[in-house]
Symmetry: C2
Subunit: 209 residues, 2 copies
DNA sequence: TACGTATCCCCCTAATTGGGGGATACGTTT
DNA sequence: AAACGTATCCCCCAATTAGGGGGATACGTA
């Protein structure tokens, strides 16, 4: 497969790393770094001139952080691919970054080759992630198999947790509203709660739903 | 990094592919195939004897499908790493597989090297995915930046969509219940709905929340 | 100045929720 | 055969909630 060179911008406050990434990418001959910035604010100011197709973004920056910056860039130029490169792999940070529109998430111990591959991958519509991050993301979907709830109860609690009323749930499942009530009573018993809110909170925490 | 050989089981109804995968893995010298099965039912029967550490699982199987089988294996042996290998990359299928506990999702056009790498990755706690699948998964987190809702309104609708009552939302945000009501009125106006259920449905569909 | 945003208040009614008490039917396990 | 779990449906009742209507104040920005 052929690969056009992409316009890359680097946002990283550490000068050593910034220069290192720039050298690495330019030396590869595939892509070219059009600019580098030491803060999110500077990167946003220069966005229209830089016209990056790919941005390597640090998270911990002086002033505006990299996640907020990702969000801002996506608002202005939604097609920009943003790769987070950071030492932190805190799960909240990872999911916040992805919600903000980041296309990938690499840790700074990635090898030069991995970083170049990640840029290629992003250029081709992939989502490069460090192994550990990828597992974190995939695991976030995984349901707990040790649920005390029956399939029917799980269905009903899931609908309830999506803001549906008893009537709507009954309608969706083609059963009577009274049946829904009965199931919910059992759910509350099993989870040892006595309100919708508590049931949802506990069930989500334990990934029953 | 060193790598212990893993016990691999293949579940695939196509004999050609099944034998091909087996040959590939055994020839690599890293891992060994302890058994292969042409159906989910057979694989489950043999689970205790096979004691697989990694399972390559097809989705389209005669009888029980690969996703249901993934769920069953995870119930009995939660530590088993299951890699889905299929021609289908329908998004519902991908997310169902991950919810069922699959650790990775590869498409059948993956090269032999990619498949071997995926097994290594799974053995090391990664989550191997084809580029396109990875992007699908990452994109599922992405919020729509073109929301008509303000930050405050988005916060409130998010809490509402998690089953919270006006009172709880007010409490969480340290504002009066009347303020919550005001915001919700504005949200309904903007989304042109007049109920919680409709607002949540529309907002979710458009990834405002 | 006007607009959007965020905050708070009143009134009112209908719908919803949750707790209590049941019942029937079906399949599995003891 | 009896007990259990599951799924289905019904009644009554009280408190809370949701939604619609009408406001107000304050702050910052266009």
């Amino acid at each position: 497969m052929t690969l056009d060179g992409k316009r890359v911008v680097i946002v990283e406050d550490n000068k050593g790393l910034r220069d290192g990434f720039e050298l690495l990418i330019n030396a590869s001959g595939k892509h070219h770094v059009v600019n580098t910035h030491e803060s999110a604010e500077r990167a946003l100011e220069a966005l229209e001139l830089d016209r990056p197709e790919i941005v390597l973004m640090d998270v911990n920056l002086p002033g505006m952080n990299g996640i907020k910056c990702t969000n801002e860039i996506k608002k202005i130029k939604p097609k920009t691919e943003i790769l987070i490169i950071t030492v932190f792999e805190n799960s909240t940070l990872v999911f916040d970054a992805l919600c903000a529109g980041a296309s990938g998430y690499l840790t700074k111990n990635s090898s030069p080759l991995e970083i170049l591959n990640a840029i290629d991958s992003a250029a081709f519509g992939g989502a490069p992630m460090s192994q550990h991050i990828a597992r974190m993301v995939v695991d976030s979907f995984k349901k707990n198999n040790k649920t005390p709830l029956t399939v029917r109860e799980t269905d009903i609690l899931t609908l309830l947790s999506n803001g549906k009323s008893y009537a709507t749930i009954a309608d969706n499942l083609n059963i009577s509203k009274e049946t829904v009530k009965s199931h919910i009573k059992r759910i509350y018993e099993k989870l040892q709660v006595n309100s919708k809110e508590d049931a949802i909170e506990i069930a989500k925490k334990q990934k029953f739903i």
